[in-house]
Amino acid sequence: MPRLAFLMRLAVGSVLLVAGALKAGSMENTVTSIGRFDVLPHWLVLPVGLALPGIEVTIGAALLCGVMPRAAALLATCFAATFLVFVVAAMARDLDVECGCFGESVLLRANGRLLAFDVALLVAATVGCLRAGEGSPHEASGA
């Protein structure tokens, strides 16, 4: 189980790192995508869109390197749950929206496949979060 949690954190960390890096390549697109989900108040879209790529990269790197793993896993779980809420909200309202999760390079529409991906990400992040601190070389060494 600790090994599984460790692997889950590596997987979630990789996804967040890649997603954040790709988003950082097209920040205006990220801001627009977040706005089109029509979930956040308009005044919050720009700051969230600007901050999101860096935060994802930081959490992803922290999970991969085993730095502050509990906090990083907890944040990853919160992020995955938030992404899921966005996708469910878009699907429930028949919105035709590209998620912008991986910038402009991979365009995923808010549909069943993206929902399944987000559920998998949430499960992986939750498993990593519940057992955070177990199984990672960093934590095992008492850091």
Binding site: G35, V57, A71, L75, L95
Partner: protein, 157 residues
């Protein structure tokens, strides 16, 4: 208690580092345009959500105007009854004439089944420039409309 406080501290530290990284990225790597008022306004305008309605939903809703963005030939062969023609290639020209009819309305843009991206493009254009209240596309395009057995007409509109 101490443990949860340290967890919260770590989480805040990670978020702080992330925000700093993002700002650094935006400022240092040629995205200061993001902070210009014109860009902010354009981003706010772009925020209108884009819907994807099924032909059946549209047929049951008299408030929605269907805009056919296919070519004049395709439109003349067959189009949803009551649809307004706005060829995507001549959208600027067509909008001058159609703007009063579209302003403040709910508009569904229809294209061919293989041209949904074009419909999205036109819908986003209308959201930005025509002052429409809500925009969306027709799921499955014209072929889905026709296959659903919904009313169609020949000729121009």
């Amino acid at each position: 208690m101490t443990r949860s406080r340290s967890l919260l501290g770590h989480a805040l530290a990670l978020i702080g580092i992330g925000i700093a990284l993002s700002l650094l990225r935006a400022i240092a790597f040629a995205e200061p345009a993001l902070f210009r008022p014109s860009t902010v306004l354009s981003v706010l305008r772009e925020q209108k959500p884009l819907f994807a309605w099924t032909p059946r939903q549209l047929a049951d809703d008299d408030d929605v105007i269907v805009v056919d963005c296919r070519t004049a030939q395709e439109h003349a062969v067959l189009h949803p009854t009551g649809a307004i023609h706005m060829p995507s290639q001549e959208r600027e020209k067509a909008l001058v004439e159609l703007w009063p009819r579209l302003r403040g309305r709910r508009v569904a843009v229809l294209a061919g089944a293989s041209d949904i991206a074009l419909a999205r493009d036109v819908a986003a254009y209308l959201a930005r420039h025509a002052g429409v209240a809500v925009t969306g596309t027709v799921r499955g395009g014209f072929e889905a409309w026709r296959d659903a057995g919904l009313p169609c007409a020949h000729g121009g509109s």
